[in-house]
């Protein structure tokens, strides 16, 4: 396939770190076996944590509701295998704190709850489909875990005309979405049809970076019959960020402080589309996801289909263990992922990858003074001045940092990555953001 002829689109800013996708890109998705213990945290999505609706000792089946949504911006949580609830207690959460979780001891039968009802999306109205999506606890699978039903409920005055499917996977190392597009093409396209019906729109575009030519080829071939466009994109981080992806594909810029619906676009991850298809056609709630277990610290990198709540140590064991002493364990990608305190933490809905580095893979440099080279400014996809905001943050001048639009920072880390003085720029901006938001809350 000739990539030059594909008319690659992109946004302004960003950069391309070495992507390390060769570790796992060619590995077909394998089904991860059942661990001895499943730990399902209640906080797995943006919004209010779910509310427990089972008791210790209760017998649950695969897909049984164990915690219900609390409020509109929240999502219900389901058991990811059959077994017994043995504890409801604080357990180490990927956020680094002990947070309430439901612990299930699997009975090994792994049988589905018989109350789950399959449906044909053609027979259901848009609102009924949306209810299915909410009941299945579908959240954004790209890693941000924003409840999907909220994104599908734009206010009446916002006219949506385009659905964008995010198959960019710009984070280095991760290949979960790539494998999904190759192996679950049919489900993704079916999910897109359902999403189009819910939103009542026709136009759907799948954005895929040019470093996945096989996915672009397969998706283009299959999508043509359903009137879904596939747009190849330049290989650049952070193209998978919602606003950057909209800019790359449609040329529309989402104004500061607003949501994509402001410019008539809804963005969903390809993994979310596949989960929606399963939720409607099979009645299956979101209880598993594809996780890329990779990095130089893993013996055999793999893409695994993992039950929510599987401890990370178990995933490492499936990949024939650690390759040397781990120095850094990251959940998600290396640019925006969350560093983990231990392999005891469970995989949750937002776990797109498990990345392990050894000490020798992580050279450390002392931060030097800013040399005013402007590389961070060129790399910033939001067109901010990271060096100026960071300097204000270091002096605790948060009002000035806010004037420089610190709150618009998406924390992609391009500035820190590109800084020749290895200054902790994004870290300083995050610090300023937290302080500005804390101040706003108190006023």
């Amino acid at each position: 396939m000739n990539l030059k002829a594909m008319n690659l689109k992109t946004f302004k800013g960003g950069l391309h770190p070495p992507d390390g996708k060769e570790f796992s890109a060619s590995k077909a998705i394998e089904i991860c076996p059942l661990p001895e213990e499943i730990i399902i945290p209640l906080a797995q999505h943006i919004g209010a944590p779910a509310e427990i609706c089972v008791e210790v000792g209760a017998k649950v089946k695969k897909g049984t509701l164990i915690a219900s949504a609390r409020g509109f911006v929240s999502a219900p949580i389901h058991a990811s295998t059959s077994g017994e609830v043995i504890a409801i207690e604080p357990r180490l959460h990927p956020m680094g704190k002990a947070l309430p979780a439901i612990v299930i001891k699997p009975d090994g039968e792994d049988c589905w709850d018989e109350n789950l009802k399959a449906a044909n999306p053609d027979d259901l109205s848009g609102d009924e489909l949306k209810a299915c999506i909410l009941a299945a606890g579908i959240v954004g699978m790209g890693g941000a875990t924003f409840p999907t039903h909220v994104k599908l409920s734009p206010p009446a005055d916002k006219q949506i005309d385009t659905l964008i499917l995010n198959g960019v996977e710009c984070e280095p190392y991760l290949t979960a979405d790539h494998r999904m597009m190759l192996e679950a093409t049919e489900q993704i396209l079916d999910g897109i049809d359902i999403l189009r019906k819910v939103l009542g729109i026709e136009r759907a575009v799948i954005g895929i970076e040019a470093n996945k030519p096989d996915a672009i080829e397969k998706m283009t071939k299959e999508a043509a019959a359903r009137n879904i466009e596939v747009q190849a994109l330049e290989v650049k981080y952070p193209q998978g960020a919602e606003k950057q992806l909209i800019d790359a594909i449609t040329g529309r810029q989402v104004p500061s402080g607003t949501l994509p619906m402001e410019v008539g676009v809804v963005v969903q991850n390809v993994g979310t589309a596949a989960a929606i298809s399963d939720a409607v056609r099979l009645g299956r709630p979101l209880i598993e996801r594809v996780v890329t277990i990779t990095g130089p610290g893993i013996k055999v990198p793999k893409n695994l289909l993992v039950r929510i709540g599987t401890p990370l140590q178990f995933l490492v064991d499936q990949c024939e263990g650690l390759n040397g002493e781990p120095a850094k364990i990251i959940m998600g990608g290396p640019m925006m992922g969350q560093t983990q305190l231990s392999l005891e933490t469970p995989a949750i809905r937002g776990t797109s990858g498990l990345l392990i580095f050894r000490k020798e893979d992580l050279p450390r440099y002392e931060a030097g003074p800013c040399i005013r080279c402007g590389r961070c400014i060129g790399a910033c996809p939001i067109h901010l001045q990271p060096t100026a905001i960071a300097a204000y943050a270091r002096l605790d001048l948060f009002d000035e940092a806010e004037e420089y639009h610190a709150l618009d920072c998406i924390e992609c880390g391009c500035c820190t990555y590109t800084c020749p003085a290895t200054l902790p720029l994004v870290q300083s901006i995050r610090y300023a953001k937290a302080a500005i938001l804390a101040k706003k809350r108190t006023i």
Binding site: L92, M95, G96, K97, T339, L341, S342, E344, R364, P424, Q427, S428, R430, Y431, A434, A435
Partner: protein, 282 residues
Amino acid sequence: MLASVLTLGGIGLFAAVALGIAAKKFAVEIDPRELAILEVLPGANCGACGLPGCGGYAKAIVDGTIAPNLCTPGGSETIEKIAHIMGVEAISAAPQIAVVCCQGDNTKASLKYQYLGLEDCNAAQKVADGPKNCPGGCVGLGSCVRACPFDAIEITTEGLAVINRLKCTGCQKCIATCPRSVIKMTPLSATTHVLCNSTDKGALVRKYCQVGCIACQICKKNAPESYQIENFLARVDYDSAESAEAVVEKCPTKCIRDFSAGYPEGSSFSAPSPVKKPEQVA
């Protein structure tokens, strides 16, 4: 020649007269007491009084909107002088001093993870509640050092904040910035302190710190009037006159320290030799 001299002289004369009139007409009356008070205030603009700077405080005292004894950096001497200027009786508050209630430096308290981000305690606290296993211990990245207007705080090479008692004026700036409230105000005259800030149960504290309070109640048994255990942490009542000797001696983790023989120079509380190596948690 003459014309230019006259013109310039004329302009000069006019300006002088105009300025003279303006100075009289638009004069801002400043209470002489305000200037006198400003003179005796330390001029550090630290904000301990609750106002942005010494000028603001001087004005507020003269306006009568604020008590004249709030300048902790100035101490009783300054308060007396202000009282004299204002013609009121000096009620000096008992002088207070900040103390870092933690001895768990990097050799004595274990870490959850190695923190490599921004060198700031408040930033580190946002990453999984800080790099120490102890939820209350000193983070040691020096936010207080930067906040102190009197250069009274240092971070030891082992990563623990120490306050120089000769320089500390009790302005409480460090207390406002510390994310874990590990710095506490104590009476200047107090010589016995509980140098621990962990509210975890004893068994847990033992796992991560050699010098943490394990809430064993021995201090309370020996001196029931002076010591209380609240949230698994001993608290000393600074008003009590009970002798601290037995308590300090019997404290098994040596987190209660007696400095009646004098504080160490620069007041770096060098903790006693390790009791037991802490086990690594997670």
